[in-house]
Amino acid sequence: MSAAPTTRPTTQERTDMTTTTATRPTGPSRPARLRAAAGAEARLLVRNRTAVFNSVLMPLLLVAAVPALGIGGGEVGLGPTLLTAAVVISLVYLTYYNLVTTYVARREDLVLQRMRTGELSDGEVLAATAVPTLLVTVGQLVVVTAGVVALGEWSAPVQPLLVVVGVLAGLVLMVLLAIASTGFTRTAESAQITTLPIVLVSSALSGMFFPLSTLPEWLSGIARFLPVTPVVDLLHLGFSGTTWEGEPIGDVSVWTWAVFPAGVLVAWIVVAAVLARRGFRWAPRR
């Protein structure tokens, strides 16, 4: 948090300020003021025990349960499976779910509306609220990666760029979906229900917990168009150069295989951005 200047302006400065805009000090840079607002939000996160448990312990426990559940392994290997699981769990349970509840709680407490009364832009208000959650998400991924290395299960991704793109695009999508979901979420408690389509359905059918090829064809066809699936696809392709079916493919065609999930992901980002713009409210419904 940046320290506030401690001196009062002199009478002369005061007069200048009332007459022209040009003499106003330029103030903190955008990153600095975002840091100030996000810092307050981070304090709030740390002081909220439920949020700490949900965002720090839960995802790690879930990831730790992955080998016990006998998921993955085999062709793909334990390391990439754990990392993919960490990405899906962090994006869905942490980024998405935590942001829906946080935005809705701040809206219903009239905090968002008050944050809009200052110099922060609307985008900065939304970003400041999201930053701590995004940092915890990234932290989770770092912890799991370190764990995988410690277990001796680390293998370098075949195509690192796809992994990075999958994670970043997934983050963007989850933030947008969270903002969109606040439109039909009245209270922080009701978020437990309104987030189920993503938290339960889309993540279950993402190909992370079981291969989509084990599903009836019509269902796996639908599953490929759900929002979390393309993230898993891109991670599989990036880590091990295998398709969602687990079939190895040549390095040359990895990019060709990536076109479809990347397209689905971009389409979802566009849809989520439109829904976010339409559905988001700054204040509770009167």
């Binding site: 948090m1 940046s2 506030a4 200047p5 401690t6 001196t7 009062r8 302006p9 005061r14 007069t15 300020m17 009332t18 805009t21 106003r24 000090p25 330029t26 103030g27 903190p28 600095a32 003021r33 840091r35 100030a36 607002a37 810092g39 307050a40 304090r43 709030l44 002081r47 909220n48 701040r106 407490d109 009239l110 905090v111 968002l112 509306q113 008050r114 809009r116 009364t117 200052g118 110099e119 922060l120 832009s121 700054w282």
Partner: protein, 312 residues
Amino acid sequence: MQTTAAAPSTAVPAIEVTDLRRSYGDFEAVRGIPFEVRPGEVFALLGVNGAGKTSALEVLEGLAAPGGGSVRIHGADPVRDRTAVRSRMGMLLQSSGLPGDLTVAETVRSWAGTLSAPRDADEAIAQVGLTGRADVRVRSLSGGERRRLDLALAVLGRPDVVVLDEPTTGLDPESRRQVWRLVQDMVDGGAAVVLTTHHLEEAEELADRVAILKAGRIVLSGTQEEIAETQPAVVRFTLDAGTPQPPVPTAVQVVSTGPRYEWHTRALQPVLAELLAWAAEHGVVLRYLQATAASLEQAFLAVAEGRVGEAA
């Protein structure tokens, strides 16, 4: 009051509102209101609940776009030129939230970090009387303390345009005086202030000019004296049984007669002189004699009850 009322009338208005309109669906909450506020001036918007005060302020604050007309803050549009406007504008919403898990000091410091020219945080906390509560979490503050913290945040950026929506609602008398002093300090520093209030004494204490709103329109506006003058003065007295009826002066509207008389008049002094002369001449005692000049409150009630402005 008398000193700030002398704000130079030639000064460029800090706030200019022209034919402002705002609707919710079919309901027109604000129906074309104009006003201007100059630097060093306090303008109070009065009106019963639902008169359109908050709806109008939200447009000034740049939180809503006008349905029609325009608002200019130092010549700039509060929505389109938000960045420029906000660096010199402070606002207090009618109801607004503060995260409960931050302390008073943390709340003020983090807000200061987002502002161009923040005041010193400790000084700002002291000014609203919260120094002893600086390390207390907002959750544990009383309603009045929270409102004062809210106000400290509203003026933390040294604004020269200040919009306060019911700043003292729910405050105890001592806190209210503290808020008044703070507003007066800012006005003395050259700020233009718009406020809404339910407390007429607050408007009387602070406002240089007042507008009374009803159903989205300004029914009366001007200085307190000008508004009060729209209403008659009141003379009340009681006569014992058997006393002769006093002659009614020409400038009087009789509201009630014996034994409890109430006269309304726009010529208080001559009417009173006539009445007293009559009483002296006939040796009549005017019990409970009361002469009240017209007041802002009287005008406010007249508007609320529909006795003024129906023709508008």
